[in-house]
C-alpha cells in the first residue's frame, strides 16, 4: 500500500500521466467533433496509425518535426474525407465504413512502411520532440517537471482541447455543428448545409486523430512499429462517451485514464506486481474503458442524430 502512495506522490508518475494523455486528448477531441456533428467515426484506430506513420516517415525523410505533424494531419484529413464522402452524402453505414477505413488506413501504413524499409528488423529512430526547457517555469518543484518539461506537442493538445470547447460552445460555427448532430432538419431549415457541416467536422476531426497518432512516433516512442496504436482509438471512443460529449470532461477522462495507465506500469515494479501476471496490468486500460462505458450508459446526453444519416427531402 505504501508503494501505491509512493507512486501517486512521485513527480515521474504525474509527468507520465500527462504525457500518456496527450495522444488520447488529440484523438478524443477529434472523435468528439465528429460525433457532435452526428457521425460515429470508427476509422479512428486506423487514422491514428496512419498519423503515426506519416508523421514519422516525413521526419525520417528529413522534414522538421512540425512538418511531420502537418503531414500526419494531412493524411488523417484525407482518410477523413474518404469516410465523410461515403457516410454523409452517400449515407452508407457508419459502422461498416468506419471499420473499412480503419482497415484501409492501417494496411496502407504497413504497406508503405514495408515498401520504404523492406529489410529492417528493428525500427529506425528519429529525433523526437524535446522536453521544454523554460527559464523559470521548468524549475518549479513538482509543477516544473510535471507541466513545464513536457513537449510542445503536449501543450498543443491541451490548447487544442480548449479551442475545441470554445468553438463548439461559443461560436456560431460550433452551434451549427452541434445542431447538425441534434436535428439535421433544423439546420437545413435555417439555410445551412448539413452535408457541409458534417463533412467538415469529420475531416477536421480525423486530422486531429492523426495528430494524436503522430504523438506516438514523434514524441513518445521515436519510431514506428506495428501494433503501436494498440487499441487507443477504441479507448478514445469510450472516453468521448465518458466525457458526455463535452471537451472538458473528456480531457479529464483522458487524464484519469492515463493516470491509471501510468500507475499500472509502475505497479508492475512493486512486490504486488510480482504476484500478478503482467498481463493483468496490461488488461487494465481496456477493462477500465468498458467500465467507463457502463457508468455512462444511462445518460441521455448523446447527440440526438448521432449515426442517423440525413437524406434530404426523403418522402
Amino acid at each position: 500500500m505504501s508503494d501505491l502512495f509512493d507512486i501517486l506522490l512521485s513527480v515521474s508518475f504525474w509527468a507520465a500521466a500527462i504525457r500518456i494523455a496527450s495522444p488520447l486528448i488529440f484523438a478524443t477531441m477529434g472523435e468528439l467533433i465528429c460525433e457532435r456533428a452526428g457521425v460515429l467515426n470508427l476509422g479512428i484506430e486506423g487514422i491514428m496509425v496512419i498519423g503515426a506513420f506519416a508523421g514519422w516517415m516525413a521526419v525520417y525523410l528529413g522534414a522538421p518535426l512540425w512538418l511531420g505533424v502537418a503531414a500526419a494531419m494531412a493524411a488523417g484529413m484525407l482518410f477523413g474525407l474518404l469516410h465523410a464522402t461515403l457516410t454523409v452524402p452517400f449515407g452508407l453505414s457508419q459502422h461498416v465504413v468506419g471499420l473499412g477505413v480503419t482497415m484501409l488506413a492501417t494496411s496502407t501504413s504497413y504497406f508503405a512502411y514495408r515498401l520504404a524499409l523492406p529489410e529492417v528488423t528493428s525500427p529506425p529512430k528519429i529525433a523526437p520532440f524535446a522536453p521544454m526547457d523554460l527559464p523559470i517555469l521548468s524549475d518549479i518543484p513538482f509543477l516544473g517537471p510535471v507541466l513545464f518539461q513536457q513537449t510542445v506537442l503536449t501543450w498543443a493538445a491541451l490548447i487544442c482541447a480548449g479551442l475545441v470547447g470554445f468553438v463548439l460552445f461559443r461560436t456560431p460555427l460550433g452551434l451549427a455543428v452541434r445542431a447538425a448532430g441534434e436535428n439535421p432538419a433544423a439546420v437545413e431549415a435555417q439555410g445551412l448545409s448539413v452535408t457541409g457541416l458534417r463533412m467538415g467536422a469529420v475531416i477536421v476531426g480525423s486530422g486531429l486523430m492523426a495528430v494524436g497518432g503522430s504523438f506516438l512516433t514523434l514524441s513518445a516512442f521515436s519510431s514506428f512499429f506495428f501494433e503501436m496504436v494498440n487499441g487507443r482509438g477504441w479507448i478514445c471512443i469510450a472516453l468521448v462517451v465518458f466525457g458526455a460529449w463535452k471537451p472538458g470532461k473528456a480531457v479529464l477522462g483522458a487524464l484519469l485514464f492515463a493516470a491509471f495507465d501510468a500507475l499500472q506500469i509502475r505497479l508492475q515494479q512493486t512486490p504486488l506486481g510480482a504476484h500478478l501476471p503482467y498481463q493483468v496490468f496490461l488488461m487494465a486500460p481496456y477493462l477500465l474503458s468498458i467500465l467507463a462505458l457502463i457508468l455512462m450508459s444511462r445518460r441521455a446526453e448523446v447527440p440526438a442524430a448521432l449515426m442517423v444519416p440525413y437524406r434530404k427531402g426523403e418522402r
Binding site: 461515403l86 473499412g100 477505413v101 523492406p118 477504441w234 469510450a238 434530404k312
Partner: protein
C-alpha cells in the same frame, strides 16, 4: 445531391454495380503493384497462381478459408440482427482455448471431438453474451465493448501460454501442449492437407441458411435486425432474439478457433489468428450477409491472402497489399450496393 429510391432495380444494375466494384479493386491492385515497382499484370498472375495454381496452393486456400467461413458466418448472423459483433477475434480464441483444455487428455475418444466442439461454441457464446447483455440491459453500444474485449482476450491467451497452459516440452516459445490424436480433426482425404474443419464450415453455412430462411427464429432475427421497434410492437421477444443471435454468432466464431487448433495446428500459440475475426467482417459484408455467399467470399478472401503471401515471396510486393485490397473491396462494395437501390440526383 439527393438519393432517390429505385422501385425495381434492374438486373443489369444489381449485377453490374458489384462487378464494377470488384473491377475497381483489381485496378487498385495493379496500381499498388506499380507503386511497389512490380509489373501489375504479373503481380496479379502471381497472386492467382499462389492461390490456386497448384494442388498445394489450392488446399492451402481451402484451409485458410475454413476459419474465415466460420467468422464470416458469425459476423453475418450478428450484423443481420444489427448486432455489431466486432469481437469475433476474442470468441475465436475462446474456442481455441477450449480445444486445448479438453483436447490434451482431459477427455478421451469418441467423446472428445463433439464435446469439445460444443463447449467451444458455448465459450464463444459466453464471450459475446457479456457485451450483448450490457447492450440490452444498459444500452451500452456493443461495438466498443466487443472491440476492447479482443485486446483483453489476447492478453489472457498470452498469460495462459506463459503460465498454466505452457507446453512443458516447449523450447521457450510460448505455446500450449499438443492435442492428443483423438482430439484432432481428421483429414478429409488421406494424404491431402485438408481437414474436416472445412466440411464442418460448409455444413454450418448450410445450417445457418436454413435457420435464417425457414425457421421462426430466423424470421425474428431478420425482423429485429431491420426494424427493432416494429418487431417489438409485433410481439417478438426482442431481447431474447438478440441473446439467441449472440449465442449463435459467438458459437460460430469460436468454432473458427477450435477448428484451427483441432484441425490445422494441433496446439495453441498467440499467433493463431492473423485477424480472422476482423477479416470475417469483410467476408460477411462482401457476401451481403448471406450465409451461402459467405462460403464464396471466404474462398475469395482466402485466395487473396494465400496468393499474396506467395506472390510477396516471389515479387517482393509487401503482403499488406492483400489487406489493402480487401478493405478497398469492402468500401467499394457497400457503395455499389447502395447505388443498386438508389439513384444519385443532382437536384
Amino acid at each position: 445531391m439527393r438519393l432517390d429510391p429505385i422501385a425495381a432495380p434492374s438486373l443489369r444494375r444489381q449485377i453490374g454495380l458489384p462487378a464494377l466494384a470488384l473491377l475497381t479493386t483489381v485496378a487498385v491492385a495493379m496500381m499498388l503493384a506499380l507503386i511497389a515497382g512490380a509489373n501489375p499484370l504479373a503481380t496479379l498472375g502471381l497472386i492467382a497462381k499462389g492461390a490456386v495454381g497448384s494442388k498445394f496452393a489450392a488446399l492451402e486456400t481451402l484451409n485458410r478459408a475454413t476459419p474465415l467461413i466460420f467468422t464470416g458466418l458469425a459476423v453475418a448472423v450478428a450484423f443481420r440482427a444489427k448486432l455489431w459483433n466486432i469481437g469475433a477475434e476474442a470468441q475465436l480464441y475462446a474456442g481455441a482455448i477450449v480445444a486445448v483444455l479438453l483436447g490434451t487428455g482431459a477427455l478421451s475418444a469418441p467423446m472428445v471431438l463433439p464435446v469439445s466442439a460444443l463447449v467451444a461454441m458455448l465459450a464463444g457464446a459466453v464471450v459475446l453474451l457479456g457485451p450483448v447483455m450490457l447492450k440490452t440491459r444498459l444500452g451500452v453500444d456493443e461495438v466498443v465493448t466487443t472491440l476492447l474485449l479482443n485486446f483483453v482476450m489476447l492478453l489472457f491467451v498470452s498469460y495462459l501460454l506463459e503460465g498454466p497452459m505452457k507446453d512443458p516440452a516447449g523450447m521457450g516459445w510460448p505455446k500450449s501442449a499438443a492435442l492428443i490424436k483423438e482430439a484432432r480433426l481428421p483429414r478429409i482425404v488421406d494424404g491431402l492437407r485438408l481437414h474436416w474443419g472445412f466440411a464442418l464450415a460448409l455444413i454450418s453455412a448450410l445450417l445457418v441458411w436454413v435457420i435464417q430462411t425457414r425457421t421462426t427464429l430466423g424470421f425474428e432475427m431478420r425482423a429485429v435486425g431491420q426494424n427493432r421497434e416494429a418487431a417489438r410492437f409485433a410481439g417478438m421477444p426482442v431481447n431474447a432474439v438478440l441473446v439467441k443471435t449472440a449465442l449463435l454468432s459467438g458459437g460460430l466464431a469460436a468454432l473458427a478457433g477450435w477448428s484451427e487448433v483441432a484441425g490445422l495446428k494441433g496446439h495453441l500459440s498467440s499467433d493463431l489468428s492473423p485477424g480472422f475475426g476482423y477479416t470475417g467482417i469483410i467476408v460477411a459484408m462482401l457476401a451481403l450477409l448471406h450465409p451461402l455467399g459467405v462460403v464464396a467470399t471466404a474462398l475469395f478472401v482466402a485466395a487473396i491472402f494465400v496468393g499474396s503471401d506467395s506472390m510477396s515471396r516471389a515479387a517482393g510486393v509487401p503482403t499488406y497489399i492483400a489487406d489493402m485490397l480487401l478493405a478497398t473491396a469492402l468500401l467499394f462494395m457497400v457503395l455499389a450496393l447502395m447505388l443498386t437501390r438508389y439513384r444519385v440526383v443532382w437536384k
